[in-house]
Every structure is written in structure tokens, then in C-alpha cells.
């Protein structure tokens, strides 16, 4: 594996020798790398290369799959997230996730954003909750569009608005890390551009890890890019280096469209 990235950036997450198995089948092989805080790290690679599986390790989403087994260590702020003392639900409040298809709850726009804050008891009063909802919607770039119809169902919004609602919902509980699994693949170019602009703003305060099938998107929004193939991390480096002068031939072949 080639790592051409700067090593002096503060790491939020450190992965060491991570293996993932689905029953007997190994999906991730010996992946080690650091994910810096306050920046966007893009995971790219062909379908089935393990990038989504790897992403799901970071908030222990693989726990929900009976046959899945994760080995190796994943440290967040120096603490092992797979340690038996760590509550997965609490972990997921620190590590938010946005999925490929916008999946708002069948509730009002307001309740979608307020949901997590209520569960985690983040607001003692109604004004405090209002505050969280407004701030989250503002940060997700959606406030101006929905402030007059907060009681309308979340599902009444357009696809791009729904995805921004899901991002607002994710940031409402004050996470430190946001995982995004192809957040724009169901959106048109305008909605995609808005999400990308949003991601660029969010990286000022969050550690963002994003899986994307669009290499142009990885090039546009990420600072670091990791290329996965067949369950292995092939190369990681500054995004600019990966897309202008990658060191590994496999990376080169993939990003120039010569793969397989």
C-alpha cells in the first residue's frame, strides 16, 4: 500500500490491521490508515471493493449483521471503538451517517431534525430544541427553504432537500464524525452541487468520511483519497496527488478508466 499523505495532520480515527469477515468470506484485508479531523476523506474503488463495508466499521454498523466479524483496531481519539465497554448507540451519536438514498422519517421536517436530540436528551426546553433544529437546518443549508413549513412531512421535500434534511438530522445530535455512503448518487447535478458545497462547509467542524462512485466528486470535495480494490487499501494520499500523479499502477488504471 502506498501512503503519500502528510503524516503531521492530527488524526481523528486510526485504523490498524482491520480485517472484516462475512462468515468465512473475508471482505477487508489488513487495512491500516489514519483519518484526519476537520477534513474530507474520500473512499473510492470499484463496486464490491469493500469501501462501504469499511465505512460501516467506523460506527459499528456491521454489528447489526450477525455473520459479520471485525478484527484489528479502530481508535477514535485514542480509544478503541470496538472495546466491550463502548456502547454502540452512544458511539453512533458521535459518528453520524448519511446514506445513498435520502431516508427521512415519516414525520414532519421539524421532528426529523429534533428526533435524535430528543432521544439523547440534548434539549431541556422547547426553545432549546427549536434552537437545535434551526441551527442544524441552517448548517445543512436548508433553513431558508423550509422555515415556513416545518410541520410539513419530510417526505414532501425534493430529493436534494431530503438529503440535506438527513444531513441536518445527522448533525443535530452534535456528532464529531460524519460518514457518507454515496450521498449524491440519487441526486441531480444541481442538488449534488449543493450537497458538495455543504460538505465543504461542514469539514470546518467535522471529520467527514465519504464513499463515492464519482471520482470527480472525490476530486472536488475531498482532501484525502483512499483507493480500495478487492478488499485491500491500495493507495492513500492527498487528493491532488491521487488524481494527478498516483504512485500505484492499479490506482492509475482505475482513475483513468482502464480498469478490468
Amino acid at each position: 500500500m502506498t501512503d503519500t499523505a502528510n503524516t503531521f495532520i492530527a488524526s481523528k480515527i486510526e485504523c490498524r490491521n482491520v480485517d472484516v469477515f462475512y462468515a468465512d468470506k473475508q471482505a477487508i484485508f489488513d487495512v491500516s490508515f489514519n483519518i484526519p479531523d476537520r477534513s474530507v476523506t474520500a473512499l473510492i474503488g470499484p463496486s464490491g471493493c469493500g469501501k462501504s463495508t469499511f465505512l460501516r466499521c467506523l460506527n459499528r454498523m456491521n454489528d447489526t449483521i450477525d455473520i459479520a466479524r471485525v478484527e484489528g483496531t479502530i481508535m477514535m481519539d485514542g480509544a478503541d471503538i470496538n472495546a466491550s465497554a463502548v456502547d454502540a448507540v452512544l458511539l453512533r451519536s458521535r459518528v453520524g451517517m448519511v446514506f445513498q438514498k435520502p431516508n427521512p422519517f415519516p414525520k414532519s421536517i421539524y421532528d426529523n431534525v429534533a428526533y435524535g436530540a430528543r432521544i439523547h436528551g440534548l434539549a431541556a426546553t422547547k426553545p432549546a430544541l427549536d434552537e437545535i433544529v434551526e441551527t442544524s437546518l441552517r448548517r445543512a443549508g436548508l433553513w431558508a427553504e423550509v422555515k415556513d413549513r416545518l410541520t410539513a412531512p419530510g417526505t414532501s421535500l425534493s430529493g436534494g432537500q431530503q438529503q440535506r434534511l438527513c444531513i441536518a438530522r445527522a448533525i443535530a445530535i452534535g456528532p464529531e464524525v460524519i460518514l457518507m455512503d454515496e450521498p449524491c448518487s440519487a441526486l441531480d447535478p444541481i442538488a449534488t452541487a449543493k450537497i458538495e458545497e455543504l460538505i465543504d462547509e461542514l469539514r470546518q467542524r467535522f471529520c467527514i468520511v465519504m464513499v463515492t462512485h464519482s471520482m470527480q466528486q472525490a476530486a472536488r470535495v475531498s482532501q484525502r483519497t483512499a483507493f480500495f480494490n478487492e478488499g485491500r487499501l491500495i493507495e492513500i494520499g492527498d487528493t491532488e496527488t491521487i488524481f494527478t500523479n498516483p504512485h500505484d499502477q492499479q490506482t492509475q488504471d482505475y482513475i483513468t478508466g482502464r480498469f478490468g
Partner: protein, 239 residues
Amino acid sequence: MMQQHIVSAFTSELEQLSANLLRMGGLAEAMIKDAGRAVVSRDAELAQSVIDRDHEMDRLEQACEREAVRILALRQPMASDLRNVIGSIKLADALERIGDLARNIAVRSIAVGDSDNRAALRGVERMGQAVSRQLQVALDAYARRDAVAALAVVHQDDDIDSHYNALLRAMLVYMVEDPEQLDTRSNFLFIVKNLERIGDHCTNIAKVVHFIATGQPVANDYSKISAAPNKDAPNNEDA
């Protein structure tokens, strides 16, 4: 050679771009040689044919530029493909400039008038051959994406410069010999200067080829240049 693209039209567009550049390169080589010969042999017809060929050069440059812009817009090339496309815009520009300079030499060759200074003429011819050889090696390096061969061209530029300095001195003596002919003989200065400029463009072409092949610019200090492929660690550069 490189693996094919999944989208085969992309591969053929890049090949087309390369082929057009090599066509420009072949044209430039011939123009330099013929312009040099026109000076030495006082052949106005040959000079005129060099002047005429410059139009074809301009046309090819525009075609290369159009194709490069088209690939950038439609294919969003990455990594080595991106360097190839950006590099080809620079190469087309340099070759077009070489065409202009060769054309200028041809124009001057007509204005030189009847010259009886065989030594000066032979000097021009030799320098013309040396420059044309530089271009040939640079273009071969481009065709093979050969960073080592490209670096050899960069090193050779010192030879062109010493040709230039020697010839310049000879020309000054030649001009002083007969002040009456200063007008026509001063054309030699421009011819020699143009050859020297062509040599500089050849060096630039070689540097672009090195960048296309390795992704690394050529360091200014020649002793520190490495032709190592980009797989090597950056700190091997001094090897």
C-alpha cells in the same frame, strides 16, 4: 504500452491527439532543415515552400487545441491522461512557434542576398542540423514517453548555445568586414538567433515530455535531475 480505456473512443481520441502532434513535429523538422538549406543554397523556391508550410502548421495547432479542449470537456481525463492532454497543448504551442521561426528564417534567407561567405553559411547549416536533431530526439522521446531521452535533449541545449555564441562572433566579424553590406548581412544575425530560439523550444518540448512521462518537472539544476520513474520514493530524486 498502457492498458486500453474501458471506453475505447477515449483511447482513440488520445491516440489521434498524439498522431496530430507527431505530424506537427515532422513538419517542424522538415521546415527547419529546408529553411537551413534555403539559406546555404540560396534557393528562393525552397524558402517559399517553407513559408507556405507554416499555414499547415497553424491549422494543425488549432486542430490539436480543439481536440485537447474537447477531451477535457467530454472525458475529464485524470492522472497520466490529464498530463498527456495538458502536455499536448503545450507541445502544439511550442511546435507552432518553431514553425514561425523556421518561416522567419526562410524569409530572411531571401533577404540575405548573394553571400559568398562559405564559412558563415556552413556554420548556419551545421547549427540548423544540430537543432533539427534536437527536435527529432525530443519527438522520439515524446512518441515513446521516454523521460530519460527527454533529459538528454535538455542537457544537449548547451551545445546549441555554444554553436550560437561561436556563430554570432563569426557573423559580427563578417558584418564589420564590409559595412556597405550591413543591411543584408544583418539578416544572418536574425537567422542565427531564430535557430537558437528553436533550440530553446526543443528544450521546452523535452521538459514537457518529461512531465508527461513522470508527473515531475525537470529540476533546474541538471546535476540533480533524476529520470527515475515516479514509483520511486521522492527522496530518491538525487540518485
